[in-house]
Symmetry: C2
Subunit: 381 residues, 2 copies
């Protein structure tokens, strides 16, 4: 299902192809996030036109609304949302920890209250597999326990051990239900936890590697720790994971994070940043972030990014986009969201091209020399 | 600029072609409304794909925000909003009367306070021509005075006389500034007022007809009067207006209104209904209105309208659209808006086809036999 097609000589970056029942994903890849079964504000056709080969959706949200009954009746998630490319679903673990009103967690599973209506639910790792089996997503995640930063080593060990136990139970359950849902070829990934402790990360990664998952996620990163620490954990963990399996850095990240992670051998990324920033009026550009509401853009008739060829940049000026935001028009939100999703997907295309052309390190350096994670002051420097 | 290409034998319906600097409009036509220089929630490319040949925008709103300075710098409205098909702009008169905080009107012009920031403005009929000259819209309207329903005959006469005086001044101004803006081929329409009084409508229409405008609008309809009265006024006025000029029923209307008006010889329509209803969760279908939030649609996997071939109906179910509305997702609003705009444009296509095939009266009867302006009860009857 996964094939590393090229390895960079200077770094650990690699090109790969991940085959699913709904098509091939070319890695390194970015997965736009469709929390409530929609990539916020965008038509699926436009996300595909922007070059997406896969999207992510959230099991926790789908389970609560519209609920499994409706998605099952629709014939699975792909049919429900009209998306026939690969879908990855997470386990819901992270949302249960961050969104639900009440949460009681023990070795059996997790009890929580819905953030929508307060209804109580108890879910085991087996339930989480069954739910995703019913969704029919192409790549699924087992229930895991994520800890926040900072966290004591003891707490991190408990969470990591529980994640390992749940991983074993998830694999067993998967062997029973695989093929029962609308997607006969689901891939189950293992999730590495262990907070910022190399020893815990290492043992978690090694034990998971022995369990023969279809791929490996690195969870519990970008939960408040400094960037340097994120890159260390990603690199350290990637080195331990099996070469021949895809590696997914959950919830990563900003453009710079993605470049650093690719350099360390990570293949897959997802983040809500493109659409969330878009809705809030911030565009990612090759020079940095543009906050479109700023006054000087009122008279700026250049596109968001001269180097971008997305629909928004080919057709609309900063002045028009600023007007739309000022007038609180939806079109402003949707155009910036589309541009940002395109920007991230385009970054991945460029990364893949650079690896192909054996110039990834150079590309990374060149990109970061003009790009800043800070907001641009106007006029552009 | 306007050519009647076919006249129906059984009714007063007619086919026409209105030529502008940005292309030909095939009439009878519907103009989606882009109040703030955007058809709410829709990419221009999707509105074009849905078959729009023209859009409408509001002078009052554009004048206040982003302001003429910015649109002028952009090179006119078409360039500012990236729409290279025809644009019709209204005079702003209706918005000044309905939206602005304070309004003082006399023969010289109108003073009003912006509904956005309270700033005071005084505009003459000449200013309104200059503003639209600067916008560069293809079809422009003179300042007029619109009265509400009901209205005394005396008041209606004052408004109608003032509208006529302003029409003369607008024509004079137009002869001076035509060609000065970004669009060398602007068409100026006259607006018939006169409330529900046939005598006033008749004299207003006759006087305007003598002034040789490029087309004629019927204003001050659908301001609260019963449907029967609307149809009478439209039919009565259309009969007086010159055959060889296009006739535009401002702010009309619902599907049934459009059919009745076409039957009476009206060529052009605009209304905010498709996008406003879409944002509020109501879809127009061949059987009537579907309120997508209603509970039974949760398990309804059919499209909004089996007979519709818009992007929303080709790809998404009522169950999914209801989910999006429930989860307050933008995609729900934008898909319903797109569907509704398509529905109205498709109705116009069918009307034109029916006139072409000499079966308009039959088409109208057939359409209205299955279509209801009421909200559909579920399941569909």
């Amino acid at each position: 299902m996964f094939k590393v097609t090229l390895k960079d000589k200077d770094t650990k970056a690699r090109l790969g192809e991940l085959t699913t029942a709904h098509g091939v994903m070319h890695t390194p890849c970015f997965m736009p996030v469709g929390t409530h079964a929609t990539i916020k504000g965008l038509y699926p056709k436009d996300v595909l036109d922007a070059g997406a080969e896969v999207m992510l959706s959230n099991t926790y949200h789908l389970f609560l609304r519209p609920g499994m009954n409706i998605i099952q009746k629709a014939g699975g998630l792909h049919k429900f949302i009209s998306w026939d490319k690969p879908i990855l679903t997470d386990s819901g673990g992270y949302q249960i920890f961050s969104l639900s009103l009440l949460r009681k967690l023990d070795d059996r599973g997790v009890e929580f209250q819905s953030h929508i209506d307060g209804a109580r639910h108890f879910l085991t790792p087996e339930d989480i597999i069954d739910i995703q089996n019913c969704l029919g997503s192409d790549i699924i995640m087992p229930l895991d326990e994520c800890v926040h930063y900072p966290c004591t080593k003891d707490k991190a060990k408990i969470a990591s051990d529980r994640t390992l136990d749940w991983a074993r139970r998830s694999l067993r359950r998967m062997s029973k239900v695989k093929g029962a849902g609308p997607n006969k070829e689901q891939h189950l990934f293992g999730i590495v936890q262990g907070a910022t402790f190399e020893e815990l990360r290492a043992s978690c990664a090694r034990e998971l590697a022995e369990m023969d998952f279809d791929g490996y996620s690195i969870g519990g990163v970008s939960v408040g720790e400094p960037s340097g620490l994120i890159y260390n954990i990603l690199g350290f963990t990637a080195d331990i994971l099996p070469e021949e399996k895809p590696r997914y850095a959950m919830g990563i990240g900003y453009p710079q994070d993605i470049l650093e992670a690719v350099e360390r051998g990570i293949d897959m990324f997802d983040c809500v940043v493109p659409t969330r920033y878009g809705r809030n009026g911030t565009a990612f550009t090759s020079r940095g972030k543009v906050k479109i509401g700023n006054a000087p853009y009122a008279h700026d008739f250049s596109p968001l990014d001269e180097k971008c060829s997305c629909y928004a940049c080919r057709n609309f000026s900063r002045a028009y986009l600023r007007h739309l935001f000022n007038a609180q028009e939806m079109l402003g939100l949707t155009l910036l969201s589309l541009h940002n999703v395109y920007f991230f997907l385009d970054l991945m295309r460029k990364i893949r091209d650079a690896i192909e052309e054996k110039s990834f390190a150079e590309f990374k350096k060149h990109f970061l020399s003009s790009y800043s994670e800070n907001e641009l002051l106007y006029p552009n420097p």
